[in-house]
Symmetry: C2
Subunit: 351 residues, 2 copies
């Protein structure tokens, strides 16, 4: 019998945002890997690609031409997962097992830059501030539509994350219902707020800043950290220090600080394996259902799949799908690695 050592012994950690546990196996990073290797493109991209349907001036699948845009550019997804049609529906309460209801929604694509080759870490901070403005405008416009109660802003980066076009872009799926993960989060945030009259993330950020060991970057208004309950090897979260519940409530200073930490974090990510680092990221913030939502607190999740190198990812498969998420290195170790990485992009050193 020995005393519990969180850095050495297998254990479970609790995620208070969605009320779920994760299995942590600190010692397991040492196991040999003979499995799948991802293919990564090391090809230098051109500034403009005549065959890219996202580049300025080019033709999209639906036959329309993109404008000669100069900052970011937003258009309606031609193959949206939801439609705007209003549907007549009578709830059939007889169905215990076959519960379904129509869902109205809008999907948009947000091109981050006219440049085909510039991802977030390589963009100027002023350009990132422009993307933030675009997100603010879309959150407002979409949120103002009567039937839209939630606006999900996200990015799939890299082919390993299902992205089909390297031109830097994100997506927005706005819809009438709260998606499952957001609803779970809202329940936790609300119950904490009702009890403490402070947001859960306000207190959490304070506790993390005091602990220090999971902090990756800190500035006056934001913190980037590896959550205590992170499931992906290099998962992080950017959280505002102030309890601001949506992106449209940022002060000018907060917008600037957010742009800066976005550039710093994604630069560290690229520097980790000297590659354009794949991830899915997305913002969790107040629903747009017209209610106050003082329990919400702006945060952005980064879920990157890579584990050991630019080509070996963590597989969330059998045990993880049937049982629960499992990770092979501790969040503290990941934070330490990310913290020590340079904020100067590796490509700028080569050139």
């Amino acid at each position: 019998m020995k005393n519990f050592d969180i850095n050495e012994d297998p254990h479970r950690r609790f995620n208070p945002l969605i009320n779920e546990w994760v299995l942590v196996s600190p010692h397991r990073a040492k196991r040999p890997w003979q499995g799948q290797n991802e293919t990564i493109s090391t090809e230098e991209l051109p500034k403009y690609d005549p065959t890219c349907y996202l580049c300025p001036g080019n033709v999209r699948a639906n036959g329309l031409n993109n404008p000669e845009y100069e900052n970011s550019f937003v258009f309606e997804n031609d193959f949206a997962a939801m439609k705007q049609d209003e549907i007549i529906f009578e709830d059939d309460i007889k169905h215990t097992f076959f519960k379904a209801k129509p869902e109205q929604g809008i999907s948009r694509v947000v091109c981050f830059s006219p440049r085909h080759d510039l991802t977030l870490p390589e963009m100027e901070i002023a350009d990132i501030e422009n993307i933030i403005k675009t997100w603010q405008k879309e959150y407002t416009d979409l949120g103002n539509i009567k039937y839209i109660n939630h606006v999900q802003i996200f990015e799939n980066k890299g082919s390993v994350m299902g992205c089909s076009n390297p031109h830097p872009h994100g997506q927005i799926w706005a819809q009438s219902s709260l998606p499952t993960q957001v609803e779970k989060t809202q329940i936790s945030l609300k119950s904490y707020y009702d009890k403490n009259k402070k947001t859960l993330l306000e207190d959490y950020v304070e506790a993390e800043l005091k602990a220090g060991e999971r902090i990756v970057i800190e500035n006056d208004h934001f913190v980037a950290l590896v959550p205590f309950w992170a499931i992906w090897p290099y998962e992080t979260m950017i959280v505002s220090k102030r309890a601001v519940n949506k992106i449209t409530n940022f002060t000018a200073e907060e917008s600037a600080a957010f742009a800066k930490i976005l550039k710093q974090l994604t630069t560290k990510y690229d520097n980790l394996f000297n590659t354009s680092f794949p991830y899915s990221s997305g913002i969790h913030q107040s629903p747009t259902d017209g209610l106050e939502h003082p329990e919400w607190h702006f945060h952005m999740h980064f879920y990157p799949p890579l584990l050991r190198s630019a080509t070996v990812k963590k597989f969330m498969v059998g045990y993880e799908m049937l049982g629960e998420s499992q990770r092979d290195i501790t969040p503290e170790k990941s934070a330490e690695i990310l913290r020590q990485l340079s904020e100067v992009h590796y490509k700028s050193l080569v050139k």
Copy 2:
């Protein structure tokens, strides 16, 4: 305004096993795909591979020799996610955000056959019955260990599902806690049983057999179906007709019928894209905590990632991670496709 058509209109469906919704976009299968293609191995495997650490007689990472086994063979995972060590731990209630506790467990690897090249669909039914016997023995042995309260039997098949050795094998992770997904399921099953004095899955199978449209295979004792709430394109579930709560309670006839439906379902899977079909599968059944658990009902989940072809999978990424699972074809359509596929393995036709 039009009336809701579940075959055409985007909608959400409810999963009563884990109390979560899934977004279904029937029309979206038509979108063009320029994203990542998986590499598939079409290489014929040898019956015995001298470099394989799972083949009979060969040496494993820890220096031990595998026996010259003739059916299935079980050994302790050399790089287990959990350890058997008993750990002294004092719960620190001051930690609102940093909740962790040690987890004791055992991981085993189950080789399905001495043959390096034989996956489930290509094995004889008698050999599959042998695997079922092995699962029963392991469930009993591990379940009898005092601190083991849950035994997760699963298989990761194919390199796209993180499997690092093509020699047919599965795993068993046994542990002291109920993993997150199992705990969620247990809550739903128990609340249904307490109310109805029948298992949720007994009534569900009855409703599905009546509806017919999601059934893939049926025999006297088991049904293979695409759940109404399936998230993966060709996700299925094998459920016992009788409310049997664990694999060790199968009658001899049930074991035989289970072996048969396993062979039939995995054969259909291989025939779908004429490839060794990747998936993660696993059994959900009664915990081994010593309680009765009449609410549990044996079922086996199959989560296969492929969507359009042997090389194009469904990506559960940005929206799915931040929002909720989303699928591109209806479960009814998938069931129809699987139902119509032959039960004769495509390889046996070529030879």
